[in-house]
């Protein structure tokens, strides 16, 4: 965990409201693991708190970190206005990230991403593909419409198959990720599921996974001030453990049982 001021290498448009930012932050890139996140701040901007974003990928050789973000409010609007060579302060890597220990069984993982929740799954997919090239992860991609298909470019190389659902039916299966899940589970022998997306989406998916006895991890989001476990803005009570978890420090990834009713 450190704060590193990095130069913006790219700040590109992926769709009407989604951008990709590549930042040169070699120390953080060297440490960041899939599922961890960073908090960024434009020191010349008009926002006060840092903004949390999942680590979408890193290139340790070139010291680069990839973020993919939706322009949602003031802070992300200001981020979108930055130009390459300008500086940005990055704090990270934060949180514990995904656990991959269960994957030592060699069985296949299903990754599910919804909306910008796909971002951290890119790095997770690459990690899994590199660790077990024989059984690359299957990816269930829940997006709004075909103009968000850009995610496929990032995922292609690291996945066995990408199953797409769109809300409006402009690509893949019309509907939500949950609608496609049973068929995916029938087709592949899935032992692990990792999900990042809106809570409502994760809830349905995680319940189905738990019902089928599949090991399932979900990545949570909550408004964060500190990102390091001191402000207590992001806590919740674990369902099984009864412990008060800090999403930023103890997560953002948790076993599904800790979060959703079985």
């Amino acid at each position: 965990m450190l704060v590193e001021v990095g130069a913006i290498v790219e700040n590109d448009i992926l769709s009407d409201d989604v951008r990709s930012m590549v930042i040169y932050v070699p120390e953080i890139a060297a440490q960041a693991e899939p599922g961890q996140f960073v908090m960024v701040k434009n020191e010349n901007g008009g926002t006060f708190l840092r903004r949390p974003f999942g680590v979408a990928d890193v290139d340790r050789n070139s010291g680069r970190l990839l973020l993919i973000y939706r322009v949602a409010g003031k802070g992300t609007r200001e981020l979108a206005a930055l130009e390459p060579t300008m500086e940005i302060s990055v704090e990270g890597p934060l949180g514990g990230g995904f656990r991959f220990d269960a994957e030592s069984d060699g069985k296949r993982t299903l990754l599910i991403g919804g909306g910008v929740g796909v971002a951290p799954m890119i790095y997770a997919a690459r990690r899994l593909a590199e660790e077990n090239p024989a059984a690359k992860p299957v990816f269930l991609l829940g997006i709004r419409s075909e103009n968000e298909l850009f995610w496929q470019d990032y995922l292609q190389d690291f996945t066995e198959e990408i199953i797409v659902t769109t809300n409006d039916g402009t690509a893949g299966i019309k509907g939500f990720a949950i609608d496609a899940l049973p068929a995916v589970l029938d087709k592949y022998d899935i032992a692990h599921i990792k999900i990042c997306g809106p809570t409502i989406m994760m809830e349905g998916l995680a319940k189905l996974a738990m019902a089928r006895g599949i090991e399932c991890q979900v990545s949570l989001e909550k408004r964060m001030a500190c990102g390091i476990g001191v402000c207590l803005g992001c806590t919740f009570e674990g369902r099984v453990s009864g412990r008060r978890w800090k999403i930023c420090h103890d997560g953002p990834v948790f076993p599904a049982e800790e979060v959703f009713e079985q």
Binding site: V3, F48, L49, G75, R223, C231, L232
Partner: protein, 307 residues
């Protein structure tokens, strides 16, 4: 950092620098060890402790506002007993001789006294009595807006501890000098101000308050001018030392508080943005003293020139 220039005895609490981490924004100090040297921190002020463990408020607890933030954490904390048994020993192990101040509040005058007695142990260098948390009934704000009630709490704490007693005042009052004098007379060794100002944000999509607890406490740079004014007014009203805070983000900000009359300062919300802030602010104060040929930070205290 020239510690000879910065060393501060604040109401009997020995600190290597005059810059503390403010309650609720600095955890128990040890969470910051990756970002700064804990032995270069003036004092760690703990998250607010309460008689029993508290889960805090439901719903959204954090909202950014222009130049600052609102919070309605609701004093989530493990409770005094668990703090004493599990956290304090770990803190003392890791922070060396850095001063540790326990912040606490309670729902009754008696419980304030009880908390003070329990905290009168080795490893705690002083207590900060929170009578100003706007987010929970047990946060004491009912005591913090009435001089008589504030005095009663102060007396109860005073009677039950040999530690230096800092009383943390609420800025949500008409006349801060009245509150400051009331707790001074009741035996406080120092006052701290400001706690947060009560604020509210409404989500224009849902028509609901954004925060789970409807209102929250405003802090950060946005409140700094109010805090400096109140520190100046309070310092002119009492003889006991003042701990100044509210929006400090830089050494220059801290110097403003010192000039206004604070004998020491604390960094709050800025810790979230720059987790090395407590150390950096002390360094910047040091550089400020150096540049002006001053030999000790106390040479700034209360030196604002009026008229």
């Amino acid at each position: 950092m020239n510690f000879a220039r910065l060393a501060t005895d604040f109401a009997g609490i020995k600190m290597k620098t005059p810059v503390m981490g403010a309650s609720g924004t600095f955890g128990f100090g040890i969470e910051y060890k990756d970002f700064l040297a804990l032995d270069r921190v003036g004092a760690i002020i703990s998250k607010g402790l309460t008689p029993l463990p508290r889960a805090g408020n439901e719903g959204v607890r954090i909202a950014e506002t222009p130049g600052g933030m609102l919070n309605c954490i609701g004093l989530e904390n493990p409770g005094i007993d668990s703090f004493l048994a599990e956290i304090l020993p770990r803190v003392r192990e890791q922070v060396g001789d850095t001063a540790f101040i326990a912040n606490f509040s309670a729902g009754t005058v008696e419980d304030y006294g009880m908390m003070a007695a329990k905290l009168d142990v080795d490893g705690v260098d002083g207590v900060e009595v929170n009578i100003s948390c706007p987010n929970v009934r047990e946060g004491g704000i009912v005591f913090g807006t009435d001089p008589k009630a504030a005095a009663a709490v102060t007396e109860a704490v005073r009677k039950n501890t040999g530690k230096p007693v800092i009383v943390k005042l609420s800025p949500n009052v008409t006349d801060i000098a009245v509150m400051a004098k009331a707790v001074e007379e009741a035996g406080a060794d120092a006052i701290a101000l400001i706690n947060t100002l009560t604020g509210m944000v409404i989500d224009t999509k849902s028509w609901r308050p954004l925060l789970g607890n409807v209102t929250g406490g405003l802090s950060g740079p946005a409140v700094k001018p109010i805090a400096v004014r109140m520190v100046w007014q309070a310092a002119n009203a009492v003889r006991i030392p003042v701990l100044g805070l509210g929006g400090i983000a830089s050494g220059e900000d801290a110097v403003e508080f010192l000039l206004a009359g604070a004998s020491a300062v604390a960094v709050g919300a800025e810790n979230f943005v720059h987790p090395d802030a407590v150390e950096r602010v002390a360094e910047d104060i040091d550089a400020y003293l150096e540049a002006r040929g001053l030999t000790h930070v106390s040479q700034l205290v209360g030196k604002v020139k009026i008229g």
